[in-house]
Point group: C2
Chain length 365, copies 2
């Protein structure tokens, strides 16, 4: 149906009406067939209340018949809001990233939104410019900030004045409840301490995460709380700092097992380091659980696949991603958000497996 009005100079080689390349229908097609203006079609698409029932029905019929779907790019241009939600993260645990991602995808599936992943490095000098470029080029529908970046106030400021909606995921409430999901890591660590104390351990070590993460502090603080509640305290020699990596766990473990005051139990800031500590323990010929109990944090896949399986604190990362998405997009979602996802608070939970056991009288202090 190309209009050949203005005395067109016959299209190049006259392919004998070569079966129309099958263009996607546009809003104009719909408007024409429904005999309304495109603006009214637009109203129907955007669920404006000011459309007559009959008209709406007619338009819906045409839409269905044509299999029309609005072009997100065009919509984005006109409305200055793309249909993309961004996930910005700073490397950390790949498993963590993928779980968050999966949670978000669970929620936006079928809503017409898509997920754009944008890793970055907070230590890069052009970290902020990079993210800024991303943000204001892509006019995102919203951004989700997992814990690896949620504490970066500069980044948040950027989002705020670019006027992009965002949700922060963090171990404590950082600002507004409206745009935060709180994971309460502290509670989980406390449970870990109570578990170990309950098994009779008194000489308990801690390998915390890097200083730059709020979660490290929270986990450590929760652990201390738990110890205190059990009438215990943390000896300086048993208080080590790692980097959330396997290797740092190995190093910490070696240090712990190499010194005079050996712990009968170790609580680690995450599972990676716990696995490292386990390796160090084994290197000294000791047994996990029987000689030294180990507790991790995260319940990563590693935890359940290790031998012995790791006692750890389960942090439901995927659910957190879902919650964050609901918080961010609430209204735009077709399907009702699950009750579960509506309150913005996540509580960790201890999962007891085989890496912890009662303190061994002969060995302990």
């Amino acid at each position: 149906m190309k209009k050949t009005t203005k005395l067109a100079p016959a299209p190049k080689a006259a392919l004998p009406a070569a079966s129309e390349p099958r263009r996607r229908p546009t809003i104009n097609d719909v408007a024409r067939l429904a005999n309304v203006s495109k603006k009214t079609v637009s109203r129907v698409i955007n669920q404006s209340p000011f459309v007559n029932k009959e008209t709406r029905k007619r338009i819906d019929a045409v839409i269905a018949e044509l299999g029309y779907a609005p072009d997100p790019v065009a919509r984005g241009l006109a409305s200055r809001r793309s249909y993309l939600v961004g996930l910005i993260y700073d490397n950390p645990n790949p498993q963590h990233v993928i779980d968050t991602q999966q949670g978000i995808l669970d929620i936006i599936r079928g809503s017409g939104l898509e997920l754009v992943v944008h890793p970055c490095n907070r230590r890069d000098k052009d970290f902020l410019p990079g993210v800024r470029g991303f943000i204001d080029r892509q006019k995102l529908a919203g951004v989700i900030l997992p814990s690896s970046v949620s504490e970066d106030e500069e980044l948040v400021a950027l989002l705020r004045d670019s006027d992009t909606p965002y949700v922060r995921i963090a171990s404590v409430l950082l600002d507004n409840e409206e745009n935060s999901i709180v994971t309460h890591d502290r509670e989980g660590a406390r449970q870990a301490a109570e578990h170990l104390a309950g098994l009779g351990h008194k000489t308990i070590a801690h390998v915390s995460g890097p200083d730059t993460f709020r979660s490290s502090h929270e986990r450590r603080a929760g652990f201390m709380e738990g110890l205190k509640a059990a009438g215990l305290s943390l000896d300086k020699k048993l208080d080590l700092r790692g980097a959330y990596t396997f290797q740092s766990g190995v190093d910490a473990g070696r240090k712990l097992m190499g010194q005079a005051m050996k712990p009968t139990a170790v609580f680690c800031g995450n599972d990676e380091m716990a696995a490292g500590v386990c390796q160090a323990i084994r290197e000294t010929g000791l047994d996990i659980a029987k000689d030294v109990s180990v507790v991790g944090f995260d319940d990563s896949p590693l935890a359940s696949r290790m031998w012995p399986a790791l006692t750890t604190v389960l942090l439901p990362v995927k659910a957190t991603g879902r919650m964050a998405s609901v918080r961010l997009l609430g209204d735009r979602l077709t399907k009702e958000p699950l009750e579960e996802d509506s309150h913005g608070e996540v509580h960790p939970r201890l999962v007891v497996r085989a890496s912890t056991g009662p303190v061994r009288p002969a060995y302990g202090a």
Copy 2:
């Protein structure tokens, strides 16, 4: 500088020229300041050769001064090609997904392209419609198909006639060399077999992946080749099928260790299953390596964190993602693609760790 030509009815409340909300500069701003038409600016942006050196220089200067960057959404609308590259995958191993993703991101970083991740489920009845919607709504710059979906001919057909560029990653060459990355899983499996045979093992079992993945067949075939070369063969009782999951590995391992003909070594289709097999072996009180050797495939993080660390076949997934991106985007990338990334072939490599050892005479057949 809003033009207030047509006797405008003074803007609502006359905010005293409230410090201009700082709009992003557009191509029009650039054109005006450089004293050219927007088309010429467009030519500069798109590196058209037909622009006078002087003119180009002037425009570049204005662009730099303004900090102008073209709006990808507008460009997308006009050129019918967004600046998004899509990664479509069907669940599999999260680690695999994240590595691929990381590889792609390595390449597109700084190119103005962004990565959209789109998981799907090939067993869903609306799998194809779903992907189709994604594809032709988003007019992607390109799509990368990792092995979990690269074999789906219907999907590929879809891409082909939606005329979206794509690259398939697979264990064997599926069609055109132009748009494929081949990982040669077979070679890796062969190495695994040779390694075990070299250690004196004769009763070797295999736990393969699900039938629906080409990689399962390739790995199994490679393993058989290796055995054959060593004058060995695979007994039916030692030839099990798993599902690439940890649990399926546990099940397979129990079956193997519960039967009369026990293997002295097991080669598994991936690391997850290998970890499962290890668990099953331990349950029977036997030792990994000393009693039964185990080899995995992938070199996932799990492999190096297990105890004993798993001998496995390293498949450089991230590098594969990089290659795929270069294949897909070649020209559009600013930085020169690394030599490494240019040939489209990936070769796995055996990594020997602690889970394999010489056959134990007393125990073996």
